[in-house]
């Protein structure tokens, strides 16, 4: 295997997801290629927020994006454990349909104390994001 293509942190991402009860409740998983990670939230009935229009719950999408952003910071850092969130802003751009949801996060700045991260979630079309998130995480390890 080409060592440049494998990221030792990738296996850790998988282990974290398995250890996290809330990530299991959501049912999300991640695919990692080098420093690039795609998070996948397979559709489940319990993720629905509005039964009349069968839309995903904003809170479920926000939770998924927050976890994606957190894991992306972990992936590109050497932190011993995932970072803690300070705050986040979520923009609900389009309705989330009763289908699988995908997300990617970008670390805009990795500081000594904080990381600024942007994440986007989409369904069929990457260019038409369903939800965007901007978050800050505490990365200082004292």
């Amino acid at each position: 295997m080409n060592p440049q293509l494998t990221n030792p942190r990738a296996d850790e991402i998988d282990a974290i997801l398995k250890r996290l009860p809330f990530a299991q409740t959501l049912g999300m998983r991640c695919e990692v290629l080098g420093d690039e990670m795609t998070a996948i939230l397979p559709f489940q009935e319990k993720l629905i927020g509005n039964v009349a229009i069968r839309a995903l719950h904003g809170g479920a999408i926000a939770s998924f994006l927050e976890l994606t952003a957190m894991l992306q910071v972990f992936l590109v850092s050497d932190m011993p454990r995932p970072p803690k969130p300070i705050n986040l802003t979520i923009d609900y751009l389009r309705q989330g349909h009763a289908k699988d949801l995908y997300a990617r996060a970008y670390v805009l700045k990795m500081g000594r104390r904080m990381a600024s991260v942007r994440a986007e979630a989409w369904q069929e079309n990457r260019a038409e994001p369903v939800t965007a998130l901007m978050a800050h995480f505490l990365v200082a390890t004292e």
Binding site: R19, L20, P21, F22, Q24, T25, L26, E45, K46, L47, I48, G49, N50, V51, A52, I53, L56, H57, G58, G59, A60, A62, S63, F64, E66, L67, R81, K84, P85, I86, N87, L88, T89, I90, D91, Y92, Q95
Partner: protein, 164 residues
């Protein structure tokens, strides 16, 4: 005032009477297990219990931030509906969450949301999450919501003419 007779509803009172129904029609709210405890005009209170399947840090047993986001998002949306005089659904435009401190393991989280301003198309809300009092906050939220024009399922039913 009477040139456009339109029936006014006390939506907050209707919501208060159907407090448990509101959660049952939201599967994700059922999954995160929060309860709405009180609805007043533009103001909603709820409780988010600690549950093992919501833990976001297995070492400390602290509930995941996403659970608080879900909780406050839902309460804010309900505070919008509860501020109106006709039944309208709202959709979150944006929501900001600030995490002040982690919630304690095993303890209920109290949530409080208010809709402090309302226009024809947009609601402005804020919310708080805490264990005991608002002096010691776990998280705060600020959200804006779009008011949906039409109700789904065909044309809006005419309110009964019961006004004198």
């Amino acid at each position: 005032m009477n040139d456009k007779p339109k029936k006014q509803y006390d939506i907050a009172a209707i919501m208060n009477e159907n407090i448990n129904v509101m959660r049952d029609v939201v599967p994700w709210a059922n999954e995160t297990r929060f309860r709405v405890t009180k609805v007043e005009k533009g103001h909603v209170l709820g409780v988010q219990p600690w549950e093992a399947h919501l833990v976001g840090d297995p070492e400390t047993g602290v509930i995941h931030g996403g659970v608080i986001t879900t909780f406050l998002d839902n309460l804010c949306g309900m505070a919008c509906s509860a501020a109106m005089t006709e039944m309208r659904f709202v959709a979150t435009i944006d929501l900001r969450i600030d995490y002040m401190r982690p919630a304690d393991k095993g303890r209920d989280i109290i949530g409080e949301a208010e809709c402090y301003h309302l226009t024809r198309t947009v609601c402005f809300t804020r919310a708080w999450a805490y264990h005991e009092t608002r002096d010691k906050l776990i998280a705060t939220a600020a959200g804006t919501f779009a008011i949906n024009k039409a109700r789904f399922g065909g044309p809006r039913p005419k309110p009964e003419a019961s006004q004198p």
